[in-house]
């Protein structure tokens, strides 16, 4: 692209003529993420004793990987997958580039930092391009969470429903809506095709792509709902295991 006269002087952080509350959204997002990250780190690293209660296995500790030589919390062996999946997710990228990196904090509002901006062209952000590999791994973890959710209805070999069973089921449904609305999946399943109607195979892929597109349209919603539900499912197990609350059996 050719160089042109610089029309804009680089502006200071927050410089804008906008007079609406543009700072509310980044502030809420930063608060929400920070609370979740602090909570998940604390639970994952420092509380390995409260990982299970009855048929409920905390999603932070699933799948349960036990290795003789590993002396730290087993959650660390798992949590890097969902953490990497979300950190490289296109929605979360938008959200934290705005809320944490303030680049830009909101539209038509001055950014943080100097003029060395490289976007996602250089290390480390160029690694965001590997998001699809985290998607593959996240699907594997999701399979375990589905297994856990089904097991949450199994009370000593008897079918039963506790409040926890419903929380686990809702959580895994939300996580699935989030995972299968992924942009990388949308591309792999059919988005990369230029012709949807050219063969029986591409027609099938078009059908799957259309469903993924529907989920993808609300990707931000499912990102937040599933973040909340996964934290809540873990908190529920934590409170049960710590004898703070008791699970109500519905039948």
């Amino acid at each position: 692209m050719n160089k042109v006269e610089i029309a804009v002087a680089p502006e200071k952080l927050g410089a804008t003529a906008r007079n609406d509350n543009w700072w509310v959204e980044p502030a809420l997002v930063a608060t929400g993420f920070t609370i979740f990250i602090v909570y998940a780190t604390w639970r994952g690293l420092f509380e390995p004793q409260y990982f299970e209660w009855g048929p409920y296995l905390s999603p932070f500790y699933s799948p349960r990987i036990l290795l003789d030589w590993w002396h730290w919390s087993p959650a660390i062996l798992v949590l890097w997958v969902p953490a990497g999946f979300r950190a490289t997710c296109y929605y979360y990228r938008k959200a934290y580039y705005r809320a944490y990196f303030l680049d830009p904090p909101a539209c038509a509002v001055g950014h943080l930092g100097g003029d060395k901006y490289c976007g996602e062209t250089t290390f480390p952000f160029v690694l965001q391009n590997l998001h699809r590999y985290f998607f593959y791994l996240a699907v594997a973890v999701l399979a375990f969470l589905w297994y856990d959710a089904i097991r949450a209805f199994d009370f000593h070999g008897q079918f039963g429903v506790g409040v926890g069973s419903l929380i686990f089921l809702a959580n895994v449904v939300f996580l699935s809506f989030y995972t299968f609305g992924c942009h990388a999946y949308r591309h792999l399943v059919g988005g990369k095709l230029d012709c949807f109607s050219c063969s029986a195979r591409t027609k099938t892929r078009f059908k799957i792509w259309s469903v993924v597109t529907k989920l993808n349209e609300h990707h931000m919603l499912w990102a937040w709902v599933s973040l909340f539900s996964v934290g809540f499912a873990d908190l529920y197990v934590r409170l049960l295991a710590g004898h703070v609350i008791t699970d109500i059996r519905l039948f």
Partner: protein, 245 residues
């Protein structure tokens, strides 16, 4: 009749220019462009503004209203609380010509560099609706360049030297996804259009008056196509062995 207080940028350079305040009577259904026309007609005939259709279809009347990139003809006056000052400024990202008029010709230069639609030699020119639906969304673009104006890569970082901007990712997505187009623009997108500079923060999508899902439907799918060609080690390995994917 209620009156609006319009604070309008006047001048031929940003440094020497200034805001002038005008009082404009407000009628029902009025848009910001009407207020600007009132100023031109009755208060200050030298005020320059570019416009054409007053129907949000020509893309000429782009400006920043209360700091937000907007089409003046699509911004209703009743959106603003009575008595609140309404500022109207020229687009920040492009060189100023005069008052509210900017020189957007850089965009046309970028456009010329894009490898154009190149049909396959044996193309069958009948195709199905589902094959062209994605492209139709992109064809709604009215070239108002509001997305170019708001994009922080151009607006704040001034990377016009390496970055084509969202409007042209929309155009290229339309070409790349076209069922009859034979070219692959992945390399052009990565190395010449600077797709990687976009950090998908979605301001382009927020301001687009045609409500094109620029980020979700054009930029991200293009980023994924570039990943196929340049970043996915497994795909690249298979491509090396078997040739074309």
């Amino acid at each position: 009749m209620p009156e609006a207080i319009m604070k309008v940028f006047r001048g031929i350079s940003r440094e020497a220019g200034e805001f002038k305040t005008y009082k404009v009577p407000v009628e029902e259904g009025m848009v910001v462009l009407d207020a600007i026309h009132y100023i031109q007609g009755f208060l200050d005939p030298e005020l320059s503004v570019r416009w054409n259709c007053k129907a949000a279809k020509c893309g000429s009347c782009s400006a920043e209203v209360n700091g937000y990139p907007s089409l003046m003809c699509k911004t209703r006056m009743d959106r603003f609380p009575e008595g609140q000052e309404i500022t109207v400024e020229p687009l920040k990202t492009f060189p100023l010509v005069k008052d509210l008029v900017t020189d957007v010709s850089w965009n046309y230069e970028v456009n010329k560099k894009i490898p154009p639609f190149t049909p396959k030699p044996d193309a069958d020119w009948t195709f199905m609706q589902e094959d062209i639906e994605r492209v139709q969304e992109f064809r709604k673009c009215i070239e108002c360049f509001l997305c170019q104006d708001v994009c922080h890569v151009l607006r704040d970082h001034d990377r016009k030297d390496v970055f084509a901007g969202p409007r042209f990712f929309v155009r290229m997505a339309g070409l790349e996804m076209h069922p009859l187009d034979a070219l692959n623009r992945a390399e052009f997108l990565k190395d010449h259009a600077g797709l990687g500079f976009c950090n998908i923060t979605k301001c382009c999508t927020e301001v687009c008056p045609e409500e094109i899902h620029i980020t979700d439907n054009a930029i991200i799918p293009l980023k994924e196509r570039v990943v196929d060609e340049f970043y996915d080690p497994v795909l690249m390995f298979f491509k090396k062995i078997f040739g074309k994917s």
